[in-house]
Symmetry: C2
């Protein structure tokens, strides 16, 4: 061993001990004939004192930052103690020094506030990983991993490894494929998730399964997506939705307690998908702050249980509102005194291509009965006041209104709500608010193919009381214009998402476990019998041999860690991430392969011109 | 929840409770108007009693094996208790029954001694996984996983995930590659191990790393090899070989204690590679039994520190021994009374193509001074007795002798030793004997290329006192015939294997951490500067920025579990294994992919005629 202690271990009670330390030079400070060096390792920093005699050797062979040293010496009490440092009461009076390795000057400083840009830090990731900020992220990741395993073990879940070289069954996202040299012309696929395997394990009677496992999706990368990502993947047999919700509320509370020392004892809100969309315009609402939307028109094809406030805006002769599919309002607390410049800026914000709205109306709710508005040509002060009050506004609030096509307008208002929540400081990174979103639609409509696609995945069951609706109706959409009137449009999934601070951190469902229903689902998605058998014959077969009711959930581990770490970027919580083009710039991968590899795999390139 | 208790939970003290159970029908026994059903889940078996009233319903809808049931009823005391069963004191007086799912008749019986052949069980793996024997294997695997994590955590190792989509740098084994759609013409590779990443983590100061991680090798599959396999992968900084040995002796002792309730307190033997080859003819010796080899000739190009017993056989005029490169003897305890038929059978055994020897000589050491031998034409009784004694034989033993080319003869004798150990019952599956094998040669000679290849991998350091030999000599082999006289032939690696019952369960090394030495190693393996930079530029770069001394080890997790489970087959310890052709016969993978996938990936097949 190159050391007797780590750089974080020594205290005043070790005074007088002869010790050997090893680590990296963090800083060097010369004072005449003596030199102080801060020696760093994963565990801490210890101050080294090079007295006159040893210092002479240093003069001959000067140290530099990030040099790797081994020193032996005696623990002495510091005259000038540093209370910021766990080892701040002592220093090492160095008696001998071995230089284990030199270090070139790093291309950026190894500090929390580094001067390195993203690209440079990615290329020299092994240096970036030395920064305390990054190390803390990976330590948090390990702590979440540990906590999840401890909890799941205590609940009798078993970690069972599932294969990585499987079969390509592209549904939605693209598979990464792997040519098989042993089976020329054939390919493995990398799993997008262990979904069917964990279901088979339930059929096999393993009862409770988990895995913290890499998954792969060959998607066009958006910012903060990775082609490989990690899931906490879980499945349980003989359960209903309620059992899963309680089990994984338990897990997340345990993680909060273990990792963040937070007693998350508050009840975890449960919103139906309709409720979430109606109130927040979003199926992963950030409920750290209120600012609920006011729906001035109800699209009755989407919402079944809601009443709108159409009467507040009807018959005023304002064509934009009258003709819009949707009109939404949002009260911004304390913003009634926004200047013209400020409201103009908000208008420009919603007009950016990412948001894509034509304009923004507002009502300034100045005092108890005094409203000023950009639309006061069309609405009386009383009408404006009614809208303001319906939007739960208080005097002093600014009410913003958007109108247009249902989906885009709702999305825009949701974005605007989040943006203003951010600007108003209502989205605190150290505050954590969880909720469940339930009762998603089972199907989404694919306009291009005039057919149904699975909103979650093809293994999600409908609500038990809608199984008959699903079995008893033909999935074919005869009347494309009125697809929303097809019985399938109203089928709700037995599915649930866990949302933390506006991010989906986990999602799952109660699964189909009856062959007939699974076949109906595949058929609804446009798969004929032959394709069903080719892709999922093993699962349909398994359902014939005694499949129990079962369900599960998968947590996005990277994102969960990022949010718990107070960051929006998952990349900072992955040891060796890829960039937005899916490249590892440190390795310079992907890369070309040898001619010999092509020959052995019996493939060749056919690049598009 | 579909149940109040599992099928393994209820005891006599639960008598009188109303309970709900769910599980699979294991057996059905009818006695007139009542029926007994054993209901099974992962946790156990509970007997159900269907009295007259409920039984009538059963008559209408008969149950079958593997049907999935939910029953509610009362816990009652059994008149006929079953002490073999944890729940054997009670049964459930069933009041109502819900059939959750039917089951077709399984293609083989779900029992420890199943009637299903290998192929059938692989195809219906989800049924095979129900057998208690397989479930116990996966439970053992999970227990080993848990124990390894607990130990490593207590020693401050951190689980850090490394990427799966990396760069192809084929050395030795072939990489599986993954075409990149986003980077046409380029490929990722799946890792053969996280070797370079864990080394970078040491450069980054993470000090102690571990991961239980899938690795991939596209090798021609032999029996009991899998294209994807799992490693317990570990690395430590600021360590020497001795530190690693002690740390991982601790881990394996902890695993024995936790998983097998075995106090493995005996010292773990350490053999040099020379010692292992000399005594057992094998670098992964099974030391559960002695039967050491007697080396009658020493190949001095291989062994530096050994004395042979050439004088025992010299000048007897037996041309086969005189001309042989190697002559080895082995004493088989208590086998002196083998019949002619038995010695003939052993001769045929060594003549099989897998062993490939021309013949087998023997000496029957019948009594204190009485030897009979197949070679007594050439050797006097005194000479035969001397050989027997040198081979540590006792009266009553049979001494077997093989002669021929060094490598083949040694290998044959090692196989013969294992075979006879097996036949004599000396290799007990429930006895565990560990040893370390140390001081391997750093290089192996590649005859075809007349060059050196790395015996372990190119990151293994030479013994510290041989670094100068390595740096100071030209790796080029000028005299191919005498390659063993090249200075590199004698360089020993700072490497170690852990061997359990004759199987290598772990292997590792102290790594090179100096750029100059690493470049010399790459050059010795025939890599020019450009290739070094292309493949490993990131690692050479990392060594310039303060790389600490470091080393590590990787355990073959599948094999470790198999041996602890008393089996030689890793497949039984993998939930979803592949067959010997690398196929998953349940999924029917690998398989063809869609034309659309080829187009997107911009590749084509080019199948050999």
């Amino acid at each position: 061993m190159y050391r007797t202690h780590t750089c974080g271990a020594l205290r005043l009670e070790d005074k007088g001990k002869k010790v050997v330390l090893a680590g990296w030079v963090q800083t060097i400070r010369k004072y005449g004939a003596i030199t102080f060096v801060d020696l760093r390792d994963r565990y801490g920093i210890t101050q080294l004192l090079f007295g006159e005699q040893v210092n002479a050797a240093l003069e001959a062979n000067p140290l530099g930052r990030e040099f790797v040293l081994q020193v032996s010496g005696e623990v002495i009490e510091r005259s000038n103690k540093n209370p910021q440092l766990a080892t701040g009461d002592i220093e090492i009076d160095v008696q001998s020094l071995t230089l284990l390795n030199k270090a070139a000057v790093p291309p950026f400083t190894i500090q929390d506030d580094t001067d390195g840009g993203d690209d440079l830090r990615m290329k020299y990731r092994f240096l970036d990983l030395r920064r305390a900020a990054v190390r803390r992220n990976l330590e948090l990741r390990y702590a979440v991993n540990r906590a999840a395993r401890t909890y799941l073990h205590s609940e009798q879940f078993m970690d069972i490894e599932t294969p990585f070289l499987i079969k390509s069954t592209p549904e939605g996202a693209r598979d990464f494929v792997v040519p098989s040299r042993m089976n020329p012309g054939q390919f493995y696929a990398l799993p997008q998730s262990p979904q069917t395997f964990k279901q088979l394990l339930m059929v096999s009677g393993y009862d409770r399964y988990y895995q913290i496992v890499k998954c792969f999706r060959d998607e066009d990368l958006r910012a903060d997506r990775q082609p490989e990502f990690t899931q906490i993947d879980c499945e349980m047999a003989f359960v209903e939705q309620e059992d899963i919700l309680l089990m994984f509320e338990g897990m997340i509370r345990y993680i909060f307690k273990e990792v963040k020392q937070i007693d998350y004892t508050a009840p975890i809100a449960r919103l139906s998908w309709e409720e979430a969309m109606w109130t927040y315009g979003n199926d992963k609402p950030d409920i750290r702050f209120a600012m609920p939307l006011l729906n001035l028109k109800k699209p009755d094809t989407v919402f079944t249980n809601k009443a709108d406030h159409r009467t507040l805006i009807d018959e005023a002769g304002f064509a934009i509102f009258d003709q819009a599919e949707t009109v939404l309002a949002l009260a911004v607390p304390g913003a009634a005194d926004y200047s013209r410049k400020q409201t103009d800026e908000l208008t420009e914000w919603v007009q950016r291509p990412q948001i894509g709205m034509k304009g923004l109306a507002y009502i300034k709710y100045l005092a108890a009965d005094n409203c000023k508005s950009s639309i006061d040509k069309f609405y009386t002060p009383e009408q404006l006041l009614s809208i303001a009050k319906a939007a739960h506004a208080q005097p002093g609030d600014l009410i913003l209104l958007l109108a247009g096509k249902e989906e885009r307008t709702r999305k825009a208002m949701s974005e605007l709500r989040l943006e203003l929540g951010q600007r108003l400081g209502l989205r605190k990174p150290d505050e954590f608010k969880l909720c469940w979103v339930l009762d998603f639609p089972l199907f989404e409509y694919d306009e291009e193919g005039n057919r149904w696609v699975a909103r979650h995945h093809p293994f999600t069951s409908p609500k038990p009381d809608q199984i008959e609706t699903m079995i008893g109706n033909d999935p074919v959409i005869a009347d494309a214009a009125n697809y929303l009137r097809h019985p399938y449009a109203r089928i709700k999934a037995n599915a649930y998402d866990m949302v933390l601070n506006g991010n989906e951190i986990g999602g799952g469902s109660i699964r189909i476990y009856q062959r007939e229903l699974q076949e109906k689902m595949f058929a609804a998605l446009g798969m004929d019998k032959e394709e069903q058998q080719h892709k999922f014959g093993f699962l349909l077969g398994a359902f014939e041999y005694g499949a129990p009711p079962h369900g599960g959930i998968a947590f996005g581990f990277d994102r969960l860690c990022a949010i718990l770490g107070g960051s929006e970027s998952i990349r900072d919580f992955i040891a060796f991430p890829k960039n937005n083009a899916g490249r590892d710039v440190m390795l310079d991968a992907p890369a070309t392969i040898d001619e010999k590899q092509f020959e052995e795999l019996q493939i060749r390139l056919q690049l598009k011109k």
